[in-house]
Amino acid sequence: MQRTLALVLVSLVVIVSTSCDPFDDEDGGGSPQPPASVSPSTSPAPTLSAEGFLYTSKDGIRALATFERDRGTLELRNSTGAELAAPGLYLLDARTGEVVEAEVTPARPVDDGDERTFRVALAREMPPASIGLVVLLIGDADFGAFLPPAAAEGSA
């Protein structure tokens, strides 16, 4: 059990000396090795918009989505330092969780430093109260949810 004792000692030393827990499931923690591209574990409190569903990232993406019946607009500003692939989005129905597809046109990338407005056509009508979540796509990649409108959410 000599190596087990070493494990315990390593773990406890890490706890005390670095305020870092050795409990990260996927690498066991203890010996930090992530590169600089790994994000910190917490982020500032979110900023909401009364105008619509807002998506902001520290990488320089700002997107605002608004909807009326089965249509909408998506404004996307790219300050990431690189071109962004054509954006898209989908909605989740608040009552059923069903994915509601959306067609975003024109299907064009957004250059760094540019801001573009896209048209959104939803697969079906979605009254504001029926929207559970709005999720941003950049190309084929799922970038996660927009934040809900401030007026609807109220407190955050």
Binding site: T4, C20, F23, R95, G132, D142, L147
Partner: protein
Amino acid sequence: MIRRATVASVVAVALVLAAIPAASQGSPDALERELIAIACDVPPLLLERTLRGYRPDRAGELQLLPQEPDFVGHGGLPHSGPWDYISQVPLLWYGPGHVPALGEVDRRVTLADVAPTQGELIGFDFPAPDGAPLREVVRDAGAEPPAAVVVVVWDGAGTAVLEEHPDAWPNLRGLIDDGVWYANAEVGSSPPSTAQIHATLGTGAYSRTHGLIAHRFRLGNALVDPWVAGPRYLVRPTLADLYDPSTGNRALVGVSATVAIHLGMVGHGTMWGGGDADLVVLREREGAATLGAEGDFWNLTSNVAPWFSFPAYVNDLPPVLSYAEPVDRIDGRLDGRWRELEIDSDPAHHGFRTPARIPYQTRLVEELIRREGFGDDDVPDLLYVNYKLIDEVGHVYSMNSVEMEDSIAAEDANLPVLIDVLDREIGEGRWVMALTADHGHTPDPDVSGAAAISPTHVGTLLRARFDTDGDDVSIVELVQPTTVFLNEAELADEGATVADVAAYTMTLTKGQLSGETWPIPEAQADEPAFLAAFPSSLLPALPCVPASGP
């Protein structure tokens, strides 16, 4: 356990691959065929679990799979891989008057079945993407729903962990015949870490569907933590997200846990349209470097606080050290220590990293139920409780340790206490409990004979082999136990592909990848380090992955 005989075939394939020049100078098609053959040498069940945890937009580019029981890890013991000893978990449903006393059921089920089963019990049709109501549990559902369904997670207490200490859980064992016990339950997807599997519990979906595929995943050009932005990266609803608004938010939804990666059980709170601020109690360190970092008091960190509500009164309850004396006496001595660990010390988190935390947290749960009124009306409520001690002990002391025995015994001894609380506060015959775990743990390498492969050395060797252009951009972004995140653009600049990296990885030996905490024995030094390494993009089209399963 994977046949050791496969080592010979791995060696043979590795020799073939070693002869293939890097930078795709050979035929890409031939290389891809070789890599598909390597992938298909992995048992189909392990591939199926891996596929359920894979989505191309968020995954690492290279899949890694050591030969069981070997693992990739250093520092604390990880638990990340598709093997049975990590994937298989206990699953007990117990609720006199609501859940039949069927005892053991042998069919294979997954934790994606938990949320739709809860839904069926409370009369809510939850459209789980990958799970289904467990027919044995809901056999008698429908007459009168329970006033509350309580999901209890013994974090890290996989089946193999419990079997290692068979005498440490008599109370849980004693409930088997009075409920439904799934002896062949598994988490569903791989890698099976806390964030992914708690989200599977909440959404009834495998991680490829709900989006939280790992503790680090790709989001554009960044690698992110699953809860760094609150619930934003969870892209499917939980049972609570849909059910609570369907009651006009009259249902109570609450969580007692410690870190945000447990919150996939509950979901999005007010981020979900029509949702309210569900009750959540965590104990997480703000800005911590690792995802399991617990704090010194109950709280919500800033990334999740906007979407949930925190009942501040929980910090007024008796302190954890008031529960320490029985822990101190475990080894027959009253010396201020749990075994060798001083209880009132920083490493013990002043009692919180000892079995004292179990009754301490249960007292909190009792207070939560009483003050908030769980089970008080005719709208069924949902309560989720994560006890994390077993997981922490597994990382630090290993699943084979006496500390693990103590921890399982502590959680088991708490079980009748929790049942008493539910009977007293909600009422006998008015609740149902599901008890499970989110994963197992890795045996002590001294016990299993495992080779611990250093992720640092994997990265170093890959960089040494492929990073030759002298710029400051690395081809390796992050090495995790089952995957490597690669910078494909930089790799292309180097004239190489992910397939080339996979082929080279298959030539690495354990001796080249030996870490410091568990040096690999000399006798294993020349053995291949990996059973399989292949581009993740091959996974969906592999001809050898089972087409269906639970």
